[in-house]
Amino acid sequence: MNEQAADVIIVGGGFMGAATAFFLRQRGRSVILLERGLIGQQASGVNFGNVRRQGRHICQLPLANRSRAIWGRLSELIGEDAEFLKTGHLRIGYRPEHIGMMEAYRDASDPYGLDLELISANQLRQRFPFLGPEAIVGSFAPHDGHANPRLAAPAFGRAARRAGATVVENAEVDTIDKVSTDFLVQTKDGRRFRAPAVQISAGAWGNRLSTRFGEPVPMIVKGPQMGVTEAVPYALTPVLGVSTKDKLEAIYLRQVTRGNIVFGGTGHGPADLDTIRARVDPAVTLHQFTQLTRFVPALAALRIIRVWSGIEGYMDDDVPVMGPSAKVPGLFYAFGFCGAGFQLGPGVGDVMAELIDTGHTSTPIEPFHISRFAAS
């Protein structure tokens, strides 16, 4: 059977893989993107859709900034905007200690241009009259926003294909072997591909592949618990989230211009890598209701029409795996984004393409290197 060759093979066509393929083509590199199912069908397609920098680890902000700049140029880059809206992102706190936490984060993130604005209780009520009485402090990120996860990764996949990438769907990778300086990749249906560089961007399945190269990582998989209401007039402009260390009150929501309110948070459900299924726990949905109405009391008048989940990979230090392999030359990783990869997607693609193309990155990604797990 014929073998297809390229400069780079990407294993995994989620947001990271699709964006990397696109930006590699921008750099003139030939690329084959192999996806087990359809592009952006797993966690990339079913997440909350937050384009949020506020609240991220400070070490992620340079990468998040690079990504944010691309979000603003999506239409010119890939020909569609994936419904990206710069609506701002508002986090609120329920208790006095949250004021200090928000101030500390504002100060630490200040060099990165998030322009966070802390808002007192009275001002909160004036500017966001839909908030419940328990919110006593807010932190507003004016440049953050949201987009449609069902559209974003597939749009990058199509743009990559238009730009000359070989995008192969329904291609489940079976073996990846390093032979001399090349990698030979074979799919379960027997197709063969060859390239001197391979990127593993297989999301929650990333650990299974890195383990084959002697680089297991401490990852657990779980499913976000999402839901959406019936459509009502567009009124909640910013993306909303509760800033808290108490997971049970950590609800987040956004309204799309069509009118539906998408929400998630307060817990995760089981996810299974083998059956490729993640479930929504009905108890979590019912608990979310209590937190939704606590946050925005008027939501009590609405009904939800659908819940869903996905399969996300979480690292034990809550930091993704991104960069070159510590063991195998030519092998690169971009997975394990801990439920917070959507905003980063375009930036990860841009940075990984730069890394694979030039051997270095202009954005610091050392904190994400897989070698951090090697010592233990």
Partner: protein, 456 residues
């Protein structure tokens, strides 16, 4: 050992007979019913204070309806009855229910799903105009409230309900201006050998047709729907007759429906395997002859599993209850069960005959003009759906839903899903079984955010 806990969803003919069978075996099942009163859709009871006779309400089926009602009423005190209660999810051996805003979890040893069917609709230009109803809704208006959907009513679609509702309207004194059937007479003749499995029902069907003819209602077979037109409300129904001439029916209301579709959401949420049924063009739970689904402890009875009609549902309810009892180690009457099975085989022959006589007109979906709304909830047109199926390369319906929003609204694809699948399949040039089915997602119906867990 405590008695096994058996939950029945639905109190129509199937749910009623299942409950009766379990009570007779000495158990006290829980019956969850979305409606206030038992009877289901087919034997829907009139609201308190209405005094029409059973004969007026149910026609030739009056004695069956009365018997089902009486059986259910006789179970009071012997079952745990939960009316006005929505079964919104099922997971890990428990049914999740909602009564008002009280949410609770019902663990079960066996779950009998008897959730019935809904109308099967096919979009056409103008079908969202005020004055267009489904056949089922037209019938409910009459049965529950004694109202007609209009003063000059046309009915269009196919299937037994088309004629039944039209004749009920005639009997109630409404002006039925026409009955338009997409199925040709030849299909009916081809189906005769199978439909002969139930000569009594066949005869009743002929009787309904004759009554319509005698009342002077024009009946057109083998028509092709064109559009429903009007300025803000229904004024005209346009179709093409079998001989190619244009039909223009002046009317102020239209009832449409193409036989029925099974309500399979709970079975889907429970993880039961569904398979494409070529006869009905629908994905149906895989069941054994007694109604066992692929997941242990889950049973389906009635139209929610197969469209066998009301008397088939009664039999299915008994069979599912016996199956649950047998699986729980109880002794069951094998001879009786064999008779019930034999009856169901006859009903299933008839069901396959009906599917031939009154086929789902899949070709109409392929021919819909691009600007026709397919998904009412999200206002998505046939053209938009075709665009995602072709230009955006969505190979199956869940991908098409993700890209276009078809099936993402309040009905969750229960009304647009079947036509949507046909449009995707036609646009991609493949069989409808190749484009899959919309995966079920909770809640089964919109769930109020005001809902709170019992006692919390």
């Amino acid at each position: 050992m405590a008695d096994p806990r058996i939950v029945i969803v639905g109190a129509g003919p199937a749910g009623t007979r299942a409950a009766e069978t379990l009570v007779a075996a000495g158990l006290r099942p829980i019956v969850v019913n979305e409606a206030a009163a038992s009877g289901g859709q087919i034997y829907r009871r009139q609201p308190p204070g209405f005094t029409r006779s059973a004969e007026t309400l149910y026609g030739t089926e009056a004695s069956r309806a009365t018997a089902v009602h009486a059986t259910f009423d006789g179970l009071v005190g012997k079952i745990e009855y939960r009316p006005e209660t929505l079964a919104w999810n099922v997971q890990d051996g428990a049914l999740h229910i909602l009564h008002g805003v009280q949410a609770s979890r019902l663990p079960f040893d066996a779950l009998i799903i008897a959730t019935g069917a809904t109308d099967r609709v096919m979009p056409l230009p103008g079908w969202t105009l005020p004055g267009v109803y489904s056949l089922g809704a037209s019938q409910i208006a009459l049965k529950a409230q004694g109202c007609a959907i209009g003063r000059r009513v046309a009915f269009m679609g196919t299937g037994p309900l088309l004629y039944l509702v039209a004749s009920q309207y005639v009997k109630a004194g409404a002006a039925v201006v026409a009955v338009l059937d997409t199925s040709p007479l030849s299909a009916r003749l081809r189906a005769l050998p199978l439909m002969a499995a139930r000569p009594d029902v066949l005869l009743k069907g002929v009787g309904v047709m004759l009554r319509l003819r005698r009342a002077g209602v024009p009946i057109h077979l083998g028509i092709t729907p064109v559009a429903i037109e009007g300025d803000g409300e229904v004024a005209l129904l346009r179709a093409t007759a079998a001989n190619g001439t244009a039909l223009e029916i002046a009317c102020d209301a239209v009832g449409i429906g193409y036989h029925l579709r099974s309500e399979t959401q709970l079975a889907d949420l429970a993880g039961c395997t569904l398979a494409f049924d070529a006869a009905s063009h629908q994905w149906l739970p895989v069941l054994d002859q007694d109604g066992r689904a692929s997941v242990a402890g889950i049973y389906l009875a009635g139209d929610g599993g197969r469209i066998l009609g009301a008397d088939g549902a009664e039999t299915a309810g008994k069979l599912a209850a016996y199956a649950a009892l047998a699986d729980l180690g109880r002794t069951v009457p094998d001879a009786d069960i064999e008779k019930l099975r034999s009856s169901q085989r006859r009903m299933d022959r008839f069901r396959r005959g009906l599917a031939i006589a009154f086929p789902w007109p899949a070709h109409l979906a392929a021919a819909l003009p691009d600007e026709t709304l397919v998904c009412r909830c999200e206002a998505i047109t046939a053209g938009e759906l075709r665009h995602v199926a072709t230009a955006l390369d969505a190979p199956e319906v869940n991908r098409a839903k993700a890209f276009s929003r078809v099936g993402m609204g309040r009905c969750q694809g229960r009304y647009c899903g079947l036509a949507g699948a046909e449009i995707v399949a036609a646009a991609r040039g493949v069989g409808v079984e190749q484009v899959g089915r919309l995966r079920g997602q909770a809640p089964v119906r919109p769930l109020p955010i005001a809902a709170r867990v019992d006692g919390a």
